[in-house]
Symmetry: C2
């Protein structure tokens, strides 16, 4: 029996780079010898507590990111399209309700992480592809339904995500990300002799592959990694 | 006769990510069908005029960048090692004299860009590998000597770099970078039908290869790209 390396993937569905990283990671875990642990966190809390500022506040950076996301999305084959008002969607409406919902889905799911993966993807699709809301219970339910949850499962999740236990779980995951060095999302983390190794963003797969002893070229050349595995 | 794509590489020797990008670009231009035009610019001016803030001011980001640079440098085989006091070296001492010097080397060099490439590399080696000064004329001369310039050439360059013409040339290159969208360095830029396509940082080679029709895997697999071509 070998002990696979566990890669923790901290993400928030409000973050478009998290979506790109998520899809690529979901593909790579088929060809790398790793376990991926999905860690829904709250980007707003990470930005505030780390003292970081959203990069889009610098005009040239905002223009660049818009173009960068478009090119990357096309390259990695993710149907990303910015919301009509990214600032309203990201900063005014935000993702607290959505990430509590994802946390509750994960809490309920005992066997694997298929539901949390699919619900996360459907929420990204709403905000970062279809210009739809992710704050209202009806929006969250619709995403969960598309992700394959039954009506009774959705009802349970909606009740669960208002409990203190789920609020605390999201806070704790966010704090854990901060404690190992987060200043934004997405972030990958695995431990080597107890010490956290972190990788920020969607552009460190090649380096991460090198660091964990996987061949980045082999992984990249596998045609399966260019497509959703669902 | 084919018309090769010209990739403008805007950089400042005060920037460690510029060094990594520079070395990788210097390797890739051997295997990609492109012309690389070295464009020495002034990072301080770009940060100020774009309204951007140095990323290292956020504590978790500073710690991450230190680790990220160390891992990337090892991976791409560049002997990078931070100065004892990065803030003093980058922000108090800065790179205005150094980038005027590089600009003057480029102005003098009529045949190719071997001198400007080598002088830039030696300046990076001083600040980002050997914890040495890059602000004093003696420091600049030493770098140029290591890069293979003769004493008379160095004397000429030192005189040239105090002229208004060279000061203006550095300002103009910096302004050109801003005009096409810079908010930091390094930045790659090429034109498609007159429009500027830009790529920021040292981590967009795979995407850039895809966009210019080069095969990122073929380039990466060429063993030559892992070593200095000098």
């Amino acid at each position: 029996m070998t002990s696979k390396k566990t890669i923790n993937f901290f993400y928030d569905v409000v973050s478009p780079y998290s979506w790109l990283a998520f899809e690529v990671m979901c593909r790579y875990r088929n060809v790398w010898d790793v376990e991926v642990k999905l860690r829904p966190a709250f980007l707003g809390g990470i930005m505030q507590k780390s003292g970081n500022k959203p990069p889009g506040l610098v005009p040239n950076k905002f223009l660049y990111m818009t173009k960068d996301l478009q090119r990357l999305a096309q390259y990695v084959d993710v149907p990303l399209s910015p919301p009509d008002d990214p600032f309203e969607a990201m900063f005014q409406k935000g993702s607290l309700a959505a990430m509590r919902f994802v946390t509750a889905v994960q809490e309920r799911e005992k066997d694997g992480d298929r539901q949390v993966e699919q619900v996360s993807r459907e929420l990204w699709r709403r905000i970062w592809s279809e210009n739809k809301d992710i704050t209202e219970p009806a929006s969250l339910s619709e995403a969960a339904k598309k992700a394959g949850l039954s009506d009774s499962e959705i009802k349970e999740v909606l009740e669960l995500c208002t409990t203190q236990h789920i609020k605390d779980k999201l806070i704790n995951t966010t704090q854990e990300a901060l404690d190992v060095g987060a200043f934004g999302l997405p972030m990958f983390m695995y431990r080597v002799n107890g010490n956290a190794e972190i990788f920020f963003g969607s552009d460190r797969f090649e380096l991460m592959a090198h660091c964990i002893g996987e061949n980045p070229v082999t992984a990249r050349r596998d045609k399966n990694v260019r497509f959703f595995h669902t």
